[in-house]
Symmetry: C2
Subunit: 653 residues, 2 copies
């Protein structure tokens, strides 16, 4: 089991200015397109798009408008996620217009808060008498958690306390309602989120009640007598969703067991990773070994048994959930964008607990593939489901694949993923480094400047990176004066240990200074010291564990952190008739004209001739194989050239 000796903490967003040829484009896209577009969407001002009702619900709850509540029961969380994303954006890029929009929206949120501190427009407007009667289904604490995250982000970005004060009042009120004491509700939410939010609130306020309340929600979950079943009985055995007559499905909510006894990732994948994130947060602060062990077990199961090569998790759309070990079907997949974002949250917490490169490898895998792949290059269309194999005709005609979309749809009625992408990308700087008193860990290679301090010496670390296209990374260290500390650099799994490292031009033997996937360079750093890292960018043919039935006889292509895929627009349909040689000759080439510029991988493969099959479905003669030119493109760019077939896993010949 890991020890907590080396615990580090993320270098905060305001101290990390990213300036990266790859990522800056995404961050700017979020700032210039996604945040403004979502602002309009929350105000129901996008023509032809289903109204969000997000802002309108707050206006009604605040008494500023008359009208009826609209949208899902958790619609408030869209407003909160937007505020959080906008706050991150303000932290890294001041923008008076955006700041004013944020301030106005915060005023509205504050006006919708009830005198006792309660804040939820659904129960304020629509069913005030039903407050706290259906935690299982109604997301009250979930919405509160998102608003707390927004309040913390806004305070850290701007120093303004208004929203922070709102959410502190909300947290105080919730603390008066929930807890182990007699007269309080001994319950917890159907959608975990408040647990991690309360830890954030504790970190900025240092109010121990917030940490205790988070701990309470984690501890009481899954204990007997079961709160969800008691609540269900008290409601007359009714669900919020009239179509559901059964009692709550406890594994769906990860409440089938006390969290410390959970060893396998089950149920709704977003709920799961949000909970695991909070568990890791609490383990770091309480040093509870049982909680830490549960985090490690759940991480292990998720990452070693139930994760797609793209960093997607949750393989079924039924309950947007995990299924079972190795059940990673490529075409009926769910792999929700939000779940991979939550996986990144969890990975960052695990990195803070112990710097093992696997955590960062997974974070990078999810980020470079599922997360940015979910967003169209226009910033206005998003995948919720991130398939690894798509056949558009089946998506249209087979109900088991209706959830898989061959092109990115616009902002949905249930708009959870786009604001989650926005808040992750605008706070991306927080995921690059963690540090403790004597070590700065570099987990992700992204250009930019980090401002930290060792002892009393301010230090700037300037990173240059041209990932994912090339593996050359340079760190230039600029302390105000020479000071001893340690730089730890992650050796990514995709470099397979093939890397060269130079300190001020002198070769460093990586093997000698490597531990748990990090290279440690301890020295007295002087201004201008440079570390040059050259990571191998070999093209890999990746095989899957034979227990993944869906990938038998297939390989995937990966180069650097990017998983590649093949699209039928380059090969003709059916995509499945194209195969790779077992030892293929593949070469990479940067194509500046390809969807904004990308490295494409080309090589020779094989194609089954389909032409002479006529109307036969089955026959005994083999289909002739012809050599075929293959072109693999980064997975994150799939579906940007019209509707077509796509596959990540390619048959081997």
């Amino acid at each position: 089991m890991m020890t907590l000796a080396s615990r580090s903490a993320a270098v905060p967003l305001k101290q990390v200015k990213l300036a990266d040829p790859f990522w800056s484009r995404y961050i700017e896209l979020v700032r210039d397109v996604v945040i403004p577009y979502q602002y309009e969407a929350l105000h129901d001002r996008i023509p032809g798009v289903e109204p969000s009702h997000g802002v309108s619900n707050f206006r009604i709850a605040a008494g500023r408008d008359k009208g009826e509540y609209g949208g899902m029961v958790f619609q408030d969380s869209d407003v909160a996620k937007w505020l959080e994303a906008a706050a991150y954006s303000l932290a890294i890029h001041p923008d008076p217009k955006l700041e004013e929009q944020v301030d106005q929206l915060i005023d509205l949120v504050a006006a919708a808060q009830q005198p006792d501190g309660y804040l939820n427009t659904y129960f304020t407007v629509k069913e005030p008498e039903k407050r706290w009667t259906n935690l299982t289904d109604c997301h009250e604490l979930y919405c509160a958690g998102h608003m707390m995250e927004a309040g913390v982000a806004h305070y850290l970005a701007t120093g303004k306390r208004k929203l922070l004060d709102v959410v502190c009042r909300l947290a105080d009120y919730i603390d008066s309602v929930f807890g182990p004491e007699d007269g309080k509700i001994h319950g917890f939410d159907g959608h975990q989120e408040i647990e991690l939010a309360l830890v954030k609130l504790y970190e900025v306020t240092r109010e121990p009640r917030y940490l205790s309340l988070s701990q309470y929600f984690i501890d009481v979950r899954g204990t007997e007598p079961h709160f969800f079943l008691q609540e269900w009985e008290q409601r007359g055995r009714k669900s919020f969703y009239s179509s559901v007559a059964n009692p709550p499905h406890l594994p769906y909510h990860q409440s089938h067991l006390p969290v410390r006894e959970q060893r396998e990732a089950v149920g709704h994948s977003v709920r799961a990773v949000y909970m695991y994130t909070a568990m890791a947060d609490l383990a770091a602060r309480t040093k509870d070994p049982a909680l830490l062990e549960a985090c490690e077990n759940l991480w292990f199961n998720m990452v070693h048994k139930q994760m797609y090569i793209t960093g997607g998790i949750g393989s079924t759309h039924h309950g947007e959930a995990f299924t079972t070990d190795y059940d990673l079907s490529n075409d009926t997949v769910y792999a929700e964008t939000c779940a991979s974002i939550g996986l990144i949250f969890f990975a960052r917490r695990m990195l803070e607990l112990a710097p093992k490169s696997e955590y960062a490898d997974v974070m990078e895998r999810a980020l470079f593939n599922t997360v940015i792949g979910s967003m169209a290059q226009d910033g206005r269309h998003f995948f919720y489901v991130n398939p690894l194999e798509v056949w558009p005709a089946a998506c249209r005609h087979n109900p088991g694949k209706f959830h898989v979309k061959p092109v990115r749809p616009g902002w949905f009625a249930c708009a959870c993923c786009p604001p989650n992408v926005a808040r992750l990308l605008s706070s991306l700087g927080e995921y690059v480094y963690t540090m403790n008193e004597d070590t700065l860990y570099t987990h992700l290679y992204m250009g930019g400047e980090a401002s930290v301090q060792f002892g009393d010496v301010p230090v700037k670390v300037i990173q240059n990176s041209v990932l994912p296209w090339n593996g050359d990374v340079t760190l230039t260290i600029q302390p105000e004066k020479a000071v001893e500390w340690t730089v730890a650099l992650r050796m990514p799994d995709w470099s397979r240990g093939k890397a060269d490292l130079r300190l001020n031009g002198e070769d460093v033997s990586i093997e000698d200074v490597m531990k748990d996937g990090y290279v440690y360079i301890k020295r007295v750093w002087a201004p201008g010291d440079t570390l040059e890292l050259e990571l191998s960018m070999e093209i890999h043919q990746v095989r899957a564990n034979p227990n993944i039935r869906a990938n038998a006889g297939k390989a995937a292509i990966q180069r650097g952190p990017l998983v590649y895929c093949l699209e039928s627009v380059d090969h003709g349909a059916p995509m499945s008739s194209v195969s790779l040689a077992r030892e293929p000759k593949l070469s990479s080439r940067f194509d500046p004209d390809f969807l904004g510029g990308a490295v494409v991988i080309e090589g020779e493969g094989w194609r089954e001739e389909t032409g002479d099959w006529g109307d036969d479905l089955y026959r005994t003669s083999p289909t002739p194989l012809r050599p075929a030119a293959l072109k693999a493109i980064p997975y994150y760019l799939w579906g940007n050239r019209g509707e077509n077939e796509m596959t990540v896993w390619v048959h081997l010949q």
Copy 2:
């Protein structure tokens, strides 16, 4: 387009006495186990099994018992299907005890008929005021159709008219309610069945109104204004199933277009094939070229675009339905047993319209694989879903595969398939031959004796066959005196034209006398003339059309009419790690001890070593291949050795 010049008709069941080493066991199993077991089940007398309510509903409707209606809205059809199966059994194997059970049950059915001729226990007992208010959902005409089939079968088997008279009164009453005339309902049933039943009733009664009524139901289907939508509006936009708020999904019921305009098989597959059967029946009798063309188009689409190699149809459990061309996923498959039985019905009608071997090939494929594969060797357990790839852990944990069962369950609450298997197998003799005035067509090779007549000369045709284990078939012709006619023998697709034929020991050149897959031998047949046919029983490695994405890079094994599969009990899991060489050495061997005796296929293949993968999900080094002994067993025997993995399509190395 086919012409109707050569139309033939099935040689009736009472004229075909099967005595076949393979099939007689099944027919006896149905007689000795399935029919008695189902009789007990219909009487709710099987301990530990959900009550059927089938007989109890009739007792309540007949006023003999008090109580409440139980079971599905179409529960009457189970009683009808049992009566039909029992009648066929009586036709081929007199059994006084069974005949008495049948007579008693018919008395009960007659007693439940209403004075006006109406017969449906649900609407008689439970909602008498709602008769004919929801044809879309409530199966009234469907249940009537099944009772008509039972009445016809019972009359033909025993000469007794009681049930026939009941269903004629029922048909007369329905004819007074439905039709194009003013004041009648211009409607049709949500589940097609009565259409084909009315043709059977017409055949034994020669009452032209029954044929016209069938024609009416076929003609009005899918026309505008749409009956289901009108009915739905009149019901206040409600479905029988409270969870369904949407208007009826017209393609599900094959009512999205007038039937003559339908070119693709869509919707619920059992409904579809029952309708196509009636369409072919009507086309044969009315010679309507548009109806005939629709039958050919629908057959073509179903068999050349949407059929599994096992003769399964309907690839999704959502609506138990067809999806789209080439969408034949092996592991999320539906391929309901009843759908393959309906496909056999349709194929027999198409054979009557035109003797083309493809129709019989499909009939044989469905029969030897899906239909008998659906039944356990004990006759008490049945598959509804007939998968081509099974991984038990995924069936338990992935909701998208919950419908796929790794072992045959017992008689279900919705017990449509077992009685359908029983009625098909006990009437199997009806599928072997068709004839017209001068030709006897042999479609299936099964041992037994057919009694027919050419001109005024009675002829016995004695067939000996050891299929599916060996391809030697002998026909001995025993006319009472020499008479000229034609024997037509089907050349099965699986023999690939490799066959030897001898007439009284002399070789016959098959090519010279072959047309549409049948060999025609016209001569004056004398007593004792013999035809010996030796069909090639080569082992075939079958490839699928590359458009079937699910089968890319894979092959299936077939020998004679039997599709083979591999089970992990013989190979270890995961089954997907086993692969076939592209040109494998495979040999067949009859194993008398294997599940009652079967030809197994053995050979060398490859296996990916899974042992050294440890906890890796993905890696760059290829998995070593080791030679492995493969054992393929007939698909119909899968799942008889405990829960394990199974696959029909095997990766090619």
